[in-house]
Every structure is written in structure tokens, then in C-alpha cells.
Symmetry: C2
């Protein structure tokens, strides 16, 4: 069911999930316009990973928008004073509540800017790698949130008034991490290019013990293939 | 029905409508946290006006977030290559279609960041000066859009998962410009501090013939008071 010559905006953070989503969008035949955000995240090396992933998969364009969410704060990812939790020390390896790595309204802000860019490009399709199975419990990764965003998006723009229908595609939303990795490997994703860690070093080396590292490790272990992630020390 | 010690985020652009909305929020007793955006708009003098308005009305804080929407383009307000239309030359003084001054997804982006800041502040209330009567036809000023945004917002955040309900207040949405100005004057708004013009000079002098100037002029004429706006030449 490949389409052709249709544009899609793909949110590409540089992590495992978004790299897989880009591969899904490319397989469907979209011309992919990748969007990344320099938002003051402590794991800035994901921005380098984002560009590597877009280039390796043949995206049409890769845009980095600067938006300093440190102006708002409220997250371990944007405030150096809040530590990233060590998930290897909690009983099940992950926090039960929504953790301090939650960034207030992040996906809403990112999807909003993606919507604006899609409108300018003449695109109707936006892809995002949210997942509501093996995830950190972020509210803006749940299906009901995505549905509500799509409804809002179709009232928000000149394009929608003129009849264009925007779709927010979340091909990973109901997949376990194991299934995401399996799908990505089928599509030829080079996970060695990605950075998942919330506190990766400037060179992109992962810490191995934050939520994101723990979830990723479990996923590769379940698939039974080695994770190409490079760890600190 | 004044409340006290409750925080509200108020979008303050520096124009007539948002100055009035801030006065409404202040009258209701909110501690007002004003939010403005340096988004690459050609009428940057509205940012100076925004700060003047917040200070004059006694806002608790005034924050300017930088987000360069020129990266996306698609609007006369963010792309110097697209001219702001002269509305004094069209038959009814205004364009009939959504004009080129429409900025793709602007209110969605701005409200999203306001939502994030509200969450961090512990605020449940967000005020925005959208108006669907005397306006430029922007889709993201309509009541159905605001309702959809509010629904989405209440699924988007950790705060909403934990039981906080966010309200998007649009006290001007169904008022004619005449009624907005009348209300603002009752509340003591100094409209001499505001800048409405889409292509105001760096000193804040208005052009007198863009949509926004034409709508503003008509409003003051209907009220029968003089507009303190200073015009170029």
C-alpha cells in the first residue's frame, strides 16, 4: 500500500522508537520531512542521532527547531537541578508514577509545530513514535490523547477549513518494545545510530540505568539480539 | 466573583484584545503570569508593548519565549517575501478569505506552551484574547477550536491525570470590537500602550491600513472615543 509523492512530517528525536517510525513512513512511500527539537534537553546528543537517522534512511529534509523549554522547566530533562532517576534501583526497575523525566506538554508542543509545518508543506500526515506499552507512563503518549489532538488539529488550520484532513499516525502505540525492535530490524533500521538515554554523554554514550535505557535493554533482550548502544565505561 | 491566590497564564501579545483579557483576568483576582512569544514576527514592537501592558496592569510575571516560526514560514507575518495586504483597498475593507497574515498553527503552538507553563506553575486557568466576531477569519480563533484544544489539554498532562482540570478562558470570543474596547475602558486599560498593527514600525507606529489597523479603527469609531494609536507619518 505504498503511496507516492505525498509528504509526511515525521517527528524524529534520535531515539529507537522514532527511528522505527521513520522507517515505517518511508516504507509507505511518503516523502519524509523530519522534525527535531533543540529544546534544552540534557541529552543533546540525541540531536546528532536524529540527523544521522534521517540521513541514513533517505529523508527528504531534516529540520531542527529551537525552542528552549528550560524557560518553563519542571522536568529532569530540562532542569539540571532535577536528577534523572536511576531505574535499576527501584523494585521493578521502573518508577510506577509518571516520572520526573516527564516534560510538561512536550508532545503537544512538538505536534503543534509539526502541524504548522505540515500545513505549509501541503502535507496531511504526521508521524510520531509514541508508545503506550513499554513506556514511562507519559500522558501524552496515550491513544486518547492522540485522538483528541487530531480532532483539535482538524479545527486549527486554514488547510482544514479548506478541506484537508490531518492524520496523526502512531504506528508503534500499541506495540511492546520487543515488537518495535523486531519491526525496525525487518525494515533495516540501524539502531546503532540512535540514542535513547535521557542523560547520554555529548558523544552519545548511554548511562545504562535511566528509564529509557532500562526499557531499551529489556526490549533487545526479549528479541534476543545484541543492542548496538554504546555505554559509558 | 473574585478569586485569590490562584495563578493564571495569560497570553499577552501586546495588542488591544490581549490587553483587555489581562484586565479581565486581573479583575477576577488571578495572579497573572503573562506569556509572549518572540516568534520572528515582523511587528516586533508588539513585544515591547506586551511588556508595557503586563507591567502597567500589575502582572506577577512576564515571560517571553523564543520560538522562531520563520523556520516554518507560510505567513506574511513571518516571511518578509509575503506582503501584508492593504485592507483599505478591498471593497469592504477586509479580505473575505483567511488572509496571508494567518500564521500556521500559531494559537495551537502558543496555547501548548501556555499549557506546559501552567502545569509547572500549578495553574489551571489559561486566558487568550481570541475573538470570532471582528477578526481576520483565523480558524484558531473559533469557539469549536478552543473547545477541542481544552479537551486535548485535559488528556495531555501529568496534572490532568492527577485530577487538575485546565480551562481555556476566552472572555472576548463573542464580543464585537466595540464591546471589547468598552469593556477595557471600564477596566482602566490604557490602549495607548498597545500595538495592533501587523507591520508596526520598530517604534510601534501603526500603518493604518492592514486588517488589524482597520478593525481597530472601526472599533474605536463605533465606541466614539479617540484611538490613542500613533500612526506612521
Amino acid at each position: 500500500m505504498a503511496v507516492s509523492n505525498e509528504k509526511a512530517v515525521v517527528l524524529v528525536s534520535g531515539g529507537l522508537d522514532s527511528a522505527t517510525v521513520l522507517a515505517v513512513a518511508m516504507e509507505r512511500g511518503f516523502d519524509c520531512y523530519c522534525l527535531a527539537f533543540d529544546y534544552g534537553q540534557r541529552h543533546r546528543s540525541e540531536l546528532d542521532a536524529s540527523l544521522r537517522v534521517s540521513e541514513a534512511q533517505g529523508a527528504t529534509e531534516h529540520k531542527v527547531v529551537e525552542l528552549d523549554l528550560r524557560a518553563i522547566g519542571g522536568s529532569a530533562l530540562t532542569d539540571e537541578a532535577i536528577a534523572v532517576p536511576d531505574s535499576t534501583s527501584s523494585p521493578d526497575g521502573l518508577e510506577n508514577d509518571i516520572p520526573v523525566t516527564y516534560v510538561p506538554a512536550r508532545n503537544t508542543v512538538f505536534l503543534s509545530i509539526a502541524l504548522g509545518w505540515a500545513e505549509v508543506l501541503g502535507a496531511s500526515d504526521i508521524f510520531i513514535g509514541v508508545n503506550a506499552v513499554d513506556y514511562s507512563g507519559y500522558p501524552d503518549c496515550r491513544p486518547e490523547y492522540i485522538t483528541a489532538f487530531e480532532t483539535m488539529a482538524n479545527l486549527a488550520t486554514r488547510a482544514s477549513v479548506e478541506g484537508r484532513h490531518f492524520s496523526i499516525h502512531t504506528p508503534l502505540i500499541s506495540l511492546a518494545k520487543e515488537a518495535i525492535i523486531t519491526r525496525g530490524l525487518e525494515l533495516g533500521v540501524d539502531y546503532g545510530l540512535t540514542v535513547s538515554c535521557y542523560q547520554a554523554s555529548p558523544a552519545g554514550l548511554a548511562c545504562g540505568h535511566c528509564d529509557s535505557c532500562v526499557i531499551r535493554k529489556r526490549g533487545f533482550a526479549a528479541v534476543g539480539v545484541s543492542d548496538p548502544t554504546a555505554y559509558q565505561q
